[in-house]
Amino acid sequence: MDEKIKLSHGDGGSDTQRLIKNVFYKYFNDSIPNAMPDSFVFEVGQGKHAYTTDSFVVKPLFFRGGNIGKLAVCGTINDLVTAGAIPLFLSVGFVIEEGFSTEKLHIIAKSMRDVCKQTGAKIVTGDTKVVERGSADGIFINTSGIGLVSELYNSRRAVPGDEIIITGGIAEHGTSILIDRYELGIKTELESDCTPMCCLVNGLGENLKHVKQMKDPTRGGLATALNEIALEQGVDVELNEQSVPVKSEVHGISDILGIDPLYLACEGRMLIVVEKGCGEKVLHHIKALDYCDEAQIIGRFTSGHLGIVYMKTFIGGKSIIPMLEGQMLPRIC
């Protein structure tokens, strides 16, 4: 029988110990065979380090192509990647609602372990709290991570002419979540793109020198991420509609629901700003990396200094792409 999480699993007593032993040690013991300490001790060593944290409250907890656990690990790893860092150590904090299924907890922990194995990152410390029924929605997860920044990566300002690459099809995570959230009775092969993007730091080698900036287009999608970059840099961005990779299923679902894929989240894609003239060369190397075969140069920085994003459309027109306002909901009109 599927045991349910009780408040006593969070009170620090024997139930807590059992939960940690049976679930978390089972999956997270690669680095620390016997116990997960309250504090993990390590030497900082040479070089620059990146440190980040993120909390995950996704609904539904299980979606096509992943679950909240996979997302929590990928999200933090990808945040480290944006700094040009290889992930080393992660912490994980669970807030679990009373009555949550232990079986589900196993699935979540296992997929966190799988991503770690794949990337070499290690979960080295953690915490579990259980809250009364109704105080949380199933499970919330916080992760933080420390990574070692590649010496080849040197983040710097964008100038007109710099090129922008996206590493794959957009909106696949956001679209998957929408289908499951609204129980739309839609059948499709489409899955969330939820993936760790470490390959960009590991795999680009010397080409990382040409990269000026990286950003993962999560909440608010490509449009919002581009707007953030343009604003931050104070340089206009021109997006080329025709070259933005969008899977036909994503097109289909966003047409059906009346939602713009430019605003739907990616969880395994990276926006990469490459210095002028190096776009094609870097793109060639990116395409050879895992999960990046659909990569495209989608735009460039232009001479405008308003920090706005506009799109050259299929038909040859021009339209401004603002940030996301409000929630995306299925519409009829």
Partner: protein
């Protein structure tokens, strides 16, 4: 005002049908359509098939547009 997408009927189940648009299948109500059959092209609005699409005119949507458009020239 009204968002609608073209789709092809795959299977029929009484008043509903599974229809496909760009690799996506959805279940829609087909009560507003006259004698729907698998293979028919329809227009879907808010979970309902609202009109058959003339297969002659379907193909790639633009072909028909170009033909009609060019038909209006020099009239």
């Amino acid at each position: 005002m009204c968002l609608a997408v073209p789709a092809r009927i795959v299977t029929i189940d009484e008043i509903h049908a599974w229809v496909e648009t760009m690799g996506v299948r959805q279940r829609v109500n087909i009560q507003l359509i006259d004698s729907p059959k698998p293979g028919d092209y329809i227009l879907v609005h808010a979970g309902f098939a609202i009109e058959k699409i003339d297969p002659e005119h379907f193909r790639f949507l633009n072909d028909t547009l170009y033909e009609m458009f060019e038909g209006t020239e020099n009239e």
